[in-house]
């Protein structure tokens, strides 16, 4: 399946880009945001150390790394926030 991946702030800088499309194994309908993250890390290994401190969003709604992802979804990974 094909998903759109988005990353922000420090993750965007480390990846060298803010979004890309990725072909991810749909694991028989069980692919999750974590599956997409692992694919993102394979593509951009510099992201790997940050996997323990990220939030994720699927189609611009907060999600869990266990949230199931479908073909065409947009999956975003967010470093710790610092608004205000």
């Amino acid at each position: 399946m094909r998903v759109k991946v988005r990353v922000f702030a420090r993750l965007r800088e480390l990846a060298g880009r803010g979004d890309w499309d990725d072909d991810v194994d749909d694991q028989g309908g069980h692919a999750s945001a974590a599956t997409v993250w692992l694919a993102a890390v394979r593509r951009h290994p510099a992201l790997e150390p940050f996997g323990g401190a990220i939030s994720c969003a699927v189609n611009a709604r907060f999600a869990r790394m266990t949230t199931t992802v479908h073909d065409g979804d947009e999956v975003a990974f967010l470093p710790p926030v610092s608004g205000g």
């Binding site: 922000f8 611009a60 709604r61 975003a76 926030v81 610092s82 608004g83 205000g84």
Partner: protein, 162 residues
Amino acid sequence: MRLLAITADPLSVDALVGAVERAARARGEGCGAVATFVGVVRATHHGRRVTSLVYEAFDALAERVFERIQTETGDAWPEATVGIHHRIGRLDIGEASVAIAAAAPHRVQAFQVCRYAIERVKQIAPVWKHEFFEDGEAWVEGAVADPDDEDARATARARACA
């Protein structure tokens, strides 16, 4: 003017206060107080001289997060009306990065809603601050955003009502 916004334009506290007051009156609630909070770009961070800041946001998600904060304040303070505007892009020292206004029948709720809203913005809004110093730059990283974290929500509530 919308009560909730992410914008690259300079923030206007007066305009936000006016919008919150009008919304409060339109809801038929008595408006006896408006409290405001304005976050401003500081000249130093841990002793280093800041030259400018750049704020980045995940706009679509941030607007939903502001709606969520509005729902949370509505649940806890049903008579209050809140507005949240957050700036993005490059800001100079002294410019407003975030403006929050809360209208309520009485000052206690207005202050509480204002404080709760800024605490929640800091906890869960998908916004990032990139600081530029005279001698370098750094991303500021605070909380791992988790809107369902009840402990974080309780902390915001406790600070609001302290």
